[in-house]
């Protein structure tokens, strides 16, 4: 996909405003599934964070500045534990390492961006990425459309976490067991990927490598060796695949 839009259309002014409205109107229906999902998951996050003793301002601040669903659930646990900055940084890099590969497939799409590029990269969550994979409608400014998708998703997430945080305080609500929402989310993404068939071998590799490393290294430090093992096996698969079928490199494992 190439971008031939004039970057100036990102600017303000009367023409820019009507373009923005048009982009917003066509972006909103596309984001509806994420609206539901982020409000629900955001509420779960807000409740979880409140249960660790961090109120609404913390939920707001985290959702505005971090904006990474699964990591924020892990982060709530980190905030409840001791002060281990290196561990927090490493876990963030590990949990979000998959985002590197989202960026790789959007290099071309984001090429034409100017002022909004920083925000678009910042806001590249799993859900926003999946919406950006579908081409924008023909009649709107592509870059403005993508920007609206990212901003709307961000707002849903912020709103959900604030609502959840307030609920966690106001209701006599026992949050024990709500951490499972993250397990359920990844299980569902796993199932959706499994249905596409083409990634089944990497998926099995992911489970096997993680389970093996969990057994060998223990729950605290298994993520890094597991990622290294996955990378090594995939690299070996690519090398052997290239030897056998030099022309076919697009297939996955």
């Amino acid at each position: 996909m190439k971008n031939h839009e004039n970057p100036n259309t990102q600017g303000s002014g009367p023409a820019g405003k009507s373009l923005l409205r048009q982009a917003l109107i066509s972006a909103f229906p596309r984001t509806a599934p994420v609206l539901t999902g982020y409000i629900f998951l955001g509420i779960a996050f807000g409740i979880l964070l409140a249960s660790k003793g961090y109120g609404v301002l913390w939920a707001l601040g985290m959702s505005v500045t971090v904006f990474a669903g699964s990591l924020q659930f892990v982060g709530a646990g980190l905030l409840a534990g001791g002060f281990h900055p290196l561990q927090a940084a490493l876990i963030t890099l590990m949990v979000n390492a998959r985002h590197i590969f989202y960026g790789l497939s959007l290099l071309e799409s984001f090429h034409g961006l100017r002022k909004t590029k920083f925000y678009m990269i910042f806001a590249l969550t799993d859900e926003t990425f999946s919406l950006l994979c579908t081409p924008p409608p023909a009649h709107v400014d592509k870059n403005l459309f993508r920007l609206c998708v990212a901003i709307l998703d961000h707002l849903y997430w912020i709103t959900g976490s604030v609502i959840g945080s307030l609920m966690g305080r106001a209701l006599p609500f026992n949050p024990r067991g709500i951490d499972f929402v993250m397990t359920a989310l990844f299980t569902v993404i796993f199932l959706e990927q499994w249905r596409t068939r083409r990634g089944r071998r990497p998926a099995l590799l992911g489970i096997a490598a993680a389970a093996l490393c969990l057994f060998v290294f223990g729950s605290r430090w298994f993520l890094i060796p597991a990622m290294a093992l996955i990378f090594t096996v995939l690299a070996a698969a690519w090398l052997s695949g290239r030897k056998r079928h030099p022309a076919v490199q697009k297939d996955v494992a």
Binding site: L93, F101, L107, G177, F190, L191
Partner: protein
């Protein structure tokens, strides 16, 4: 933990998250061509990573101590069945989580 320490941890999470999202754009400025291995890896890795994250979520579940991971096993089975039945990600996530909260609070 003090509030300042919590703010530092959140700032680290924010910066490191941004780094993972920005890395490809830093490594491969538009002019340079992306190596085929990286393209291939970009296709394969998301599948492996999500699978790894499922295991990551269950890392602190003990199979030896009671309840032997039963609440998690039952709830994951519920997520899978709900998803296969209705094909609705949200229903599966909501149903599985509510069931897990019920099992963790009232049963086990």
């Amino acid at each position: 933990m003090t509030s300042l320490q919590a703010v530092i941890l959140i700032a680290l999470m924010s910066v490191c998250t941004f780094l993972t999202r920005a890395l490809p754009f830093i490594l491969f400025p538009a002019a340079r061509k992306i190596p085929p291995f990286v393209v291939w890896l970009g296709n394969a890795l998301p599948f492996a990573i999500i699978a790894m994250l499922v295991v990551y979520c269950l890392k602190d579940v003990s199979l030896k101590a009671s309840p032997h991971g039963l609440p998690e096993l039952i709830s994951i089975a519920a997520v899978v069945l709900l998803y296969l039945w209705k094909r609705s990600p949200l229903l599966a996530i909501a149903g599985g989580t509510v069931l897990h909260m019920f099992l963790a609070q009232a049963v086990f």
